[in-house]
Each structure stands twice: as C-alpha cells, then as structure tokens.
C-alpha cells in the first residue's frame, strides 16, 4: 500500500522533513544525475486552480496498515498437504506499485505446478492483480476473500507510485532482493502504462510541487545516534537508515525533479520544486481490474479462513495467498510489522490536477477526492508498529489547515 509522499527518498534524512529540507523525488537522489533545471519560459507563469482545502470539505478519513516485512515481501512456495501455497504478501508501502511485478513472480511459481485452476486468497490490490495475471497465463481463477476490493485495506492507502516505500530493511532483505525488486518495479511500471489515458483515468500522472521557505539543500543520511540499537539487536527497526532504498535502479524511467524559477509558479512560497508522479485512482482502476477478471470467467467467493489447514478444503490445489496485513493472524506471520498511515479525503476537484508537499503535509488531487496526508518528520519510522485503525480527525484537520495556508498569496491566472 503506497502511502508515502512521492517526493520522499529514503536515502535522504527523514528527520530533515520537519525543517522542510527534503526536496528530492523518487528516482533522483540529488543535485547529480536526474535533477533537471526547469525549462524557462520567460514571462509565463503556470496556471493552476487552487485546492479548496477546508475542514468542512472532508468527506472521509481512512486509516491503513501497511504490511511491512523487514525481509521484503513473502513470495516463497509452501506445501500444505496436497496443496501448494504460493505467498504474495508483505509489500509494506509498495503494494500498489509493485503489484503487477509481484503477481508475475507468484503466478510463474503457480504455473510451474501446471494447474488448470488456481485459488487466490484475498481481493486487495495484490490478490486482484495476481488473479488477473493467473488468467492471463491461462488458468481459471477463483478469488476467496472476506471482502470485495472496495472494502479491503488496499483502498485505504494513498495509492501513489512509491515502489520502495517500506518495502524491506537493507540488511535482512540481503543483496539479492535488489535485483528482484528491480524486476518487479520495471514489470509493474510497464503494466501500468496500459491503463494510462483510459476513460476514468485509472492510472494517471500529475505534477507535484514541493514548497519551502528555504532553499533546498541535499543532505546525506546521518548515522543513527549511538546506543539506539537496530533491527538485528532489537527485533524492530530503530532508524530510517535501516530501510532499503532501490529507486536509483530505475532512475532511467522515472521522472526527474526541477527547481522552479522564482515567480514561475502561482505559489507564494519562495522555493518551489516540481516533480511528476504516477498514481492510481481506486474507483476506476479497481473497476477495470474487476471487469477483466469477471470477463475472463473469474469467480469470487466470499469466505473467511481461520486456519491455514482450511485451504485443503478448496477444490483448487494451487493457492496464491494474498492476505496483506491479515497474514499476521491468518498465517501466523509474526514478521509482519504494521505501519499506520492516515489520509483525509476532501470533495473531488476535477479542475485541480497536481499534488503538493509543504510543511510535512502532502495533498494530491485524485478522481475520488483531494487526498491530504500528514507526516511527522519521522521518515520511514513514521507509523511503525502502530496497528490502530481508528481515524484521528484532529490530525487530518491540522493537515488540511497546513494545505490551506499554502494557498495564501496564491496567484490565479
């Protein structure tokens, strides 16, 4: 479940966020390669419509738990009696982004067992893409799930392209995972391209502006304070620096960030950078996925499993297990760590087609609402170990106020 501001780069210091100092885009780590200078069009200012950020426009507050595994997503196969279970869960904040590539890996393992039909457990973004990929590979698929897509945790996420957000810790994931990650990210990226430009914009790109009162300074990650311990010594990550970052592997296909000339944007903030990011519109994208699944003869059975052994009751003897965070209880996977994230959803603004990041708050205009998310300057440690799914309205209201403030002095036209 991607939840993280598109501008974030894990190699950079999470703590500097509080000072508004982090200005780098995914896939472009600094003043070096990948950072373009803004195209200068003299005398022209971009025309943008303002975001209507006010508390009384909040229509929904969603809380999601990213299923984070320090080792990276679980993709191994396991025998359970005469059933072959292929796991596909634990994608942290990268589930939406890596879904197609991860499904490709899981489906390849399923196909190798030569089944005519497979079961998929779970109907979140990982389950649904696994099911569609299995159909595309010629298999008949039944999804067994507690809830249909629109009520899964996937749809409580941010839904942006953040393929290495809380995807793993560098050490426990090991060297080899980087290559697998790259394969999944590239496969997903290409898969998403076939949804761009379709009616309803299931997958879309928009510009994203980062506003600051200070010039951008690229800061290298600082070493964590001594005596803090780490995942190896405490069983929990203790510092943002432990989290894996792989985005430099796909710099060649991901957009660069620009430093904007003063006065060239409608924002009053003195320092503005602009990037571009891909994101997913849940309603239409979910609809396309479900439509393909059903048109290809896919079946959905509403069912809740309580013990792994119950899989033996299924007629399918190959199962792709995509429970997301529920794997912690359903598969007794204690390696899953919840990472809480909360988004407020304001009334959609079709006339607004960009995102914003300012003072630890992000806003992104999506077809189903203006999404506003607060951060606390904790980098990758943000929300870690917090499994509360209760919305915190005060947090969202404060975040909306921060976005509203960013439009003070906004120049229209």
């Amino acid at each position: 479940m991607p939840f993280d501001r598109p501008f974030d780069r894990r190699r950079l210091l999470g703590h500097s966020l509080a000072a508004g100092g982090l200005m780098s885009l995914t896939g472009c780590a600094g003043a070096g390669p990948g950072v373009a200078s803004a195209a200068k069009v003299i005398g022209r200012r971009e025309v943008l419509m303002p975001m209507r950020a006010s508390v009384d426009r909040i229509t929904d507050i969603k809380v999601c738990l990213r299923p984070f595994r320090p080792q990276g997503p679980r993709l191994d196969a396991e025998r359970l009696g005469d059933t072959l279970v292929i796991h596909n869960y634990g994608h942290g904040g990268s589930g939406w982004s890596l879904s197609w590539g991860s499904a490709e890996v899981a489906v390849a393992k399923a196909a190798a067992a030569l089944p005519d039909r497979v079961a998929v457990v779970g109907c979140g973004i990982i389950g649904l893409t696994s099911a569609v990929m299995a159909q595309r590979a010629g298999m008949q698929v039944t999804i067994y799930t507690k809830e249909v897509f629109s009520r899964t945790r996937s749809v409580r996420a941010n839904g942006s392209w953040t393929p290495d957000s809380r995807i793993a810790l560098t050490q426990p994931a090991g060297e080899a995972f980087g290559a697998l990650w790259e394969r999944m990210a590239r496969f997903s990226w290409k898969s998403f391209r076939s949804y761009l430009g379709l009616p309803g914009n299931p997958v879309d790109f928009s510009d994203s502006y980062r506003l600051s009162d200070r010039p951008h300074v690229e800061r290298e990650e600082e070493a964590p304070p001594p005596g803090k311990g780490d995942y190896a010594s405490t069983g929990m990550p203790q510092d943002s620096s432990e989290f894996a970052s792989y985005s430099e592997r796909i710099e060649d296909i991901t957009p660069a960030v620009e430093t904007m000339e003063p006065g060239s944007t409608p924002f009053a903030a003195p320092y503005v950078r602009r990037g571009s990011n891909m994101f997913f519109n849940f309603a239409s994208y979910g609809h396309y996925l479900m439509q393909e699944f059903l048109e290809n003869g896919g079946k959905i059975e509403i069912r809740e499993f309580h013990e792994p052994g119950e899989l033996a009751q299924l007629k399918e003897k190959v199962v792709i297990n995509c429970p997301g965070y529920a794997a912690r209880d359903w598969w007794r996977d204690a390696t899953l760590i919840p990472v809480r994230g909360q988004t407020a959803w304001l009334i959609p603004q079709a006339e607004v087609h960009y995102g914003l990041y300012t003072n630890n708050v992000s806003a992104l205009s999506k077809t189903d609402g203006l999404m506003i998310q607060a951060f606390h300057g904790l980098g990758d440690m943000e929300g870690l170990g917090n499994s509360s799914e209760l919305p915190d309205r005060a947090e969202s209201e404060a975040a909306v106020a921060v976005i509203a403030k960013a439009f003070a002095g906004f120049r229209q036209g």
């Binding site: 969603k62 809380v63 507690k146 009520r151 409580r156 069912r303 809740e304 309580h306 013990e307 912690r328 209880d329 007794r332 917090n386 499994s387 509360s388 799914e389 209760l390």
Partner: protein, 138 residues
C-alpha cells in the same frame, strides 16, 4: 391513532410469533456453554477494548467488520478454539494480545450471546483443548 394502534398490534403479534418460533424449533446448541456473568463481564471488556471500532451494537462500519450477522456466517461451523485464538492473537487491533485469558473468553461468551446463543449454568472454558470441541453456531 388507529394506525398507531394497528402497528402496535402487529409488533405484539410479531413478538409472539418470534417467541413461539424459538420455543417450537430451537436452533443451535442447548444452553449452557457460557454463564450470564461471563457474558456480562465480556460486555464490559467489549465496551473498553472493542466498541470504539466495532461499535456499541457490534455492527461495525465500512472499514471494521460487524460481529453479528455476516460474522455468524463467517464463523459458522468453526471451532471456538480458533475464534478464541484469533481474538487473543489479533485483537484488539491497536494492542493485539493484551486481553487476559479470562477477559478473552468473556468477550467470546459475549459474542455468543450477541449472536443468539442463550446462557447456561456452566462457564465457557479458557482451555483451547476444551474449546476445540465446541462449534460456533453448530
């Protein structure tokens, strides 16, 4: 006024019919798998630890599962050890595993009560081995 009286009569009849149905064709196990005291304690624990998400009437909401209705269908035929284990392992979601064994089984008793099972003289046991032999909505 006449209409209101008519509605009251219908309600009263419905109540009688409902009561009749219960006595004529009892469903589920014979009473006795938990005590009323256990369920009452379970209701207290529920109010403290569960109701903020699952709501006071156990109806849940869009993001949180209800603990009646669909819940009964989901757990029908499942053994109570499995349900008690899930409760203890996964709930409350914000602090999994924080309920004592006695509180945990009291919440389970409350859930049985809320799903239409009557109380009886014997308490619901805490031991998984004993719960394993019992079915939710057998």
């Amino acid at each position: 006024m006449a209409m209101r009286q008519g509605r009251m009569i219908v309600i009263a009849l419905g109540g009688l019919l409902g009561a009749g149905a219960v006595t004529a064709a009892p469903e589920g196990p014979p009473p006795g798998r938990y005590t009323a005291e256990q369920a009452a304690h379970g209701a207290e624990v529920y109010a403290q630890a569960c109701a903020m998400c699952h709501k006071a009437d156990l109806s849940g909401d869009f993001d949180t599962p209800a603990l009646v209705g669909r819940f009964a269908r989901n757990w029908a035929g499942g053994d109570l050890a499995s349900l008690a284990g899930y409760l203890h392992r996964a709930m409350p979601a914000f602090a999994p595993g924080s309920l004592s064994a006695a509180d945990n089984v009291a919440v389970l008793a409350y859930l049985l009560q809320a799903n239409g099972e009557a109380a009886g003289p014997r308490p619901l046991p805490e031991e998984p081995a004993a719960l394993k032999a019992m079915r939710f909505k057998p």
